[in-house]
């Protein structure tokens, strides 16, 4: 079983469109894990049935027990997130502001404050339209993604892939270079970088590759919309060569990405579009590269 993680650093490069296309091409050989939980959108393209759902807790929130509270205001004084609200002399916690740091509970003289685990969202295991399985999550309002949630989604996918003897786990990785993306990359066999030739595209590509390089994972790169700026595309090509990254494909700018999205389909489900065949070639190349790892 091989784990393929797709990341981009920058948003809007076509990462999820391409990942969802791979998910369709790989069909039943693949377990899909959507770790881009902040703005999860694979479900829009892959039609999951939300078969199994589980609450996910992460971090803590302060809670004031009004029976014990003596309304001394010490919690209000120390809170740096202005999460303690006073209405008619009654102290309560504003859940959206509270960071769960626990300072209020520490200074409370009447032990009225405790930290409670916070429900941040739900984690799902679904059957998708290819007949295969996807593990994904949905965050509550104001909740943020975490390395912990990504690890949960990935571990769940891994267990299913092991049990069902699947060939691949395909992970739609988290954005940026923080904790969630570190967690997305951990344990990967192959990383696919999806980039575009814009100033922020190449900048974020290099930034996220710093992380990938640290993990010593074999990497390939897709340059999407390569023809919108040939100069930066050349720079990206030089970068790939200097880092020994496999150049998987350069895909020209094409509005089929948006068209497919509007239809709620992946590009490879459309009829005879040239981009469809380019993505199919890329998927074959990834599979070949994985064989020699």
């Amino acid at each position: 079983m091989k784990e393929i993680v797709v990341v981009s650093g920058k948003g809007g490069t076509g990462k999820t469109s391409i990942t969802a296309s791979f998910a369709v091409l790989g069909g039943k050989d693949i377990i899909v894990a959507d770790c881009d939980v902040d703005a999860a959108d694979m479900h829009l393209l892959l039609e999951p049935n939300y078969e199994i759902s589980e609450e996910f807790h992460s971090g803590e929130l302060a809670y004031i027990n009004q029976n014990n509270c003596i309304q001394c205001g010490k919690c209000y004084d120390v809170c740096r997130f202005t999460a303690i609200e006073v209405t008619n002399g009654r102290h309560t916690v504003n859940a959206l502001n509270c960071e769960g740091c626990g300072y209020c509970a520490r200074v409370c003289p009447s032990d009225a404050i405790i930290n409670k685990p916070q429900k941040v969202g739900q984690c799902f295991t679904s059957i998708i339209k290819t007949g295969s399985i996807m593990v994904h999550a949905k965050l509550g309002i104001g909740a943020d993604n975490s390395g912990k949630l990504v690890a949960k989604v990935k571990n769940e996918a891994k267990e299913i892939a092991n049990d069902e003897l699947k060939e691949y786990i395909l992970v739609d990785g988290s954005p940026g270079v923080g904790c969630p993306v570190v967690s997305s990359l951990s344990g990967a066999d192959f990383v696919v970088l999806v980039t575009e030739p814009s100033v922020s595209g190449i900048h974020d590509l290099m930034r996220v590759y710093e992380l990938v390089e640290r993990f010593n994972i074999k990497t390939g790169c897709i340059i999407n919309k390569f023809d919108i700026n040939q100069g930066i595309t050349n720079e990206i090509m030089d970068f790939l060569e200097s880092k020994n990254i496999v150049h998987l494909k350069s895909i020209p700018y094409n509005e089929v990405f948006t068209e497919a999205m509007l239809l709620g389909k992946t590009i490879v489900e459309l009829d005879n579009d040239p981009v469809k065949f380019q993505i199919m070639e890329t998927w074959i190349k990834i599979k070949k590269t994985l064989k020699y790892l």
Partner: protein
Amino acid sequence: MNLAFTAKGTTWDSNMDTRFGRTEYLLIYNDISKELSSYDNRESANYAHGAGPKTAQNLFELKADALITGNGPGGNAAAVMEKTGIDIYIGAGAKTVKEAYEAFQKGELIKV
């Protein structure tokens, strides 16, 4: 020397855990006393953020001299590891603890 492993269980036959910060267990093998001991890392693995630096700190407290793992730590955890001077060997993610130790002895793992 104390050799540390990221593992999914507590014995030589346990599978290695490819993850660093969120590894379930840390196993410590003392190659002088020939003893294998285990540390339950699941509390640190449960941190929403910062599991890596916490696990690096755990390794320091366990007096590890070298770590054998899968992909290795991310940026923040690597900074902690560098300060503590614990050597990191990667590439043992798909093995059992025993196989990982043998690969380490044969010099097959990559030092980062």
